[in-house]
Amino acid sequence: MQEAIGSGLYGLVAGFLHVHWSNPVMVVVGLILLYLGIKKDIEPVLLVPIGFGCILVNIPLAGLMEKEGFLRVIYDAGITTELFPLLIFIGIGAMTDFGPLLENPKIFLLGAAGQFGIFLTLSLALALGFTKLEAVSIGIIGACDGPTAIYVTSQYAPHLLGAVSVAAYCYMSLVPMIQPPIMRWLTTKEERMINMGMVKTSVSSTTKILFPLVVTVLGGLIAPKGLPLLATIMLGNFMKECGVVGRLARASENEIANIVTLLLGISIGATMDGRVFLTAQTLIILVLGFVAICLDTACGVLFGKLMKVLTGGKVNPLIGAAGISAYPMSARVVQKEGQKYNRQNFLLMHAMGANTGGQVGSVMAAAVMLSILKGMGII
């Protein structure tokens, strides 16, 4: 009888007895993520489920990430299969207006320059001793694009998924703080004052409908390994532009995106078990992610300066900073910086063009990267 009572009582305190030192630390990390989402409005739709998932997975003996645990079931269903990031991409495509980019297709090049940080950071990660596929996953933080980072990391370095995802989403939301000093440092006052004029409407609906089809087919031929990423974002945009499946487009950008974001967030949080997350490696990944976004911004602005020279001073180099995928935050940062130096300057639509170019650029950079890895026989 006494033994039975003892066993019963042990069952009630076993959770406390199995607390590892890293668990309370990670609960605090989860609370910080919740605080950032709720109080600071930093990507709340993601940081709230990530923070909650992080707390859940650090409660011992609950077995939520063990076989048949409910977080494991969600993780296997959507992250292991890569389904969640792809479904989110359909929603992103349906939300994005590529019109400003199509008004001035040359701005596409800024979307490429804004991805250079990915490749430079990859080399840095290799120099710091990460394996090839780990370095690829760390470099992809520079895509400034959460779903792309999750897609690549879940395939090739799933043990880094928590750190890479948190870095990608946190730095994306910190773009208004990270970019301006770099933009000011790399440009002169005269360059920041360049007025690019108003964007005129010159794109037909036929062009807007054909754009996603052409990009999907051509991009798929250039980098077949990245076709799922490219195809899903373009499918969403095609549904939006063709105008006959409004219900599907609206469902993609609202209901589907919301449900998947919840499941994606909680699954990412579930990878943040203190025993595997609290390592020096995680800290290095967070630093490298920051470096990647700084390099993206610097490369974009420098490419903007090159375009300024080539166009005889018609391009304001600030819009190069919007060549990353943080849409539309980065474009707003450019508009704000431009107006500080010239009240008559309206860079927003030009920056939106570069920003949507950055969205295609980030997906294309990941696709190119995967196809090179495939070509080398590494994946």
């Binding site: 596409f108 490429a112 991805q115 290799l126 037909s204 052409v214 250039i222 294309m364 090179i372 590494i378």
Partner: protein, 47 residues
Amino acid sequence: MDNWTFGITMTVVGMGGTLLSLWIFSLLMSALKRFFPYKEEEKGKGN
């Protein structure tokens, strides 16, 4: 393949490949705009 060669290859081919891809996209978009020019009557359609 050693890490040094891998890093350089990824950086050069990756950056070049991304830039080249988007440059081709920009050329195609310019061509599409030329083949299917914007007409004033589209203004009212909201597209």
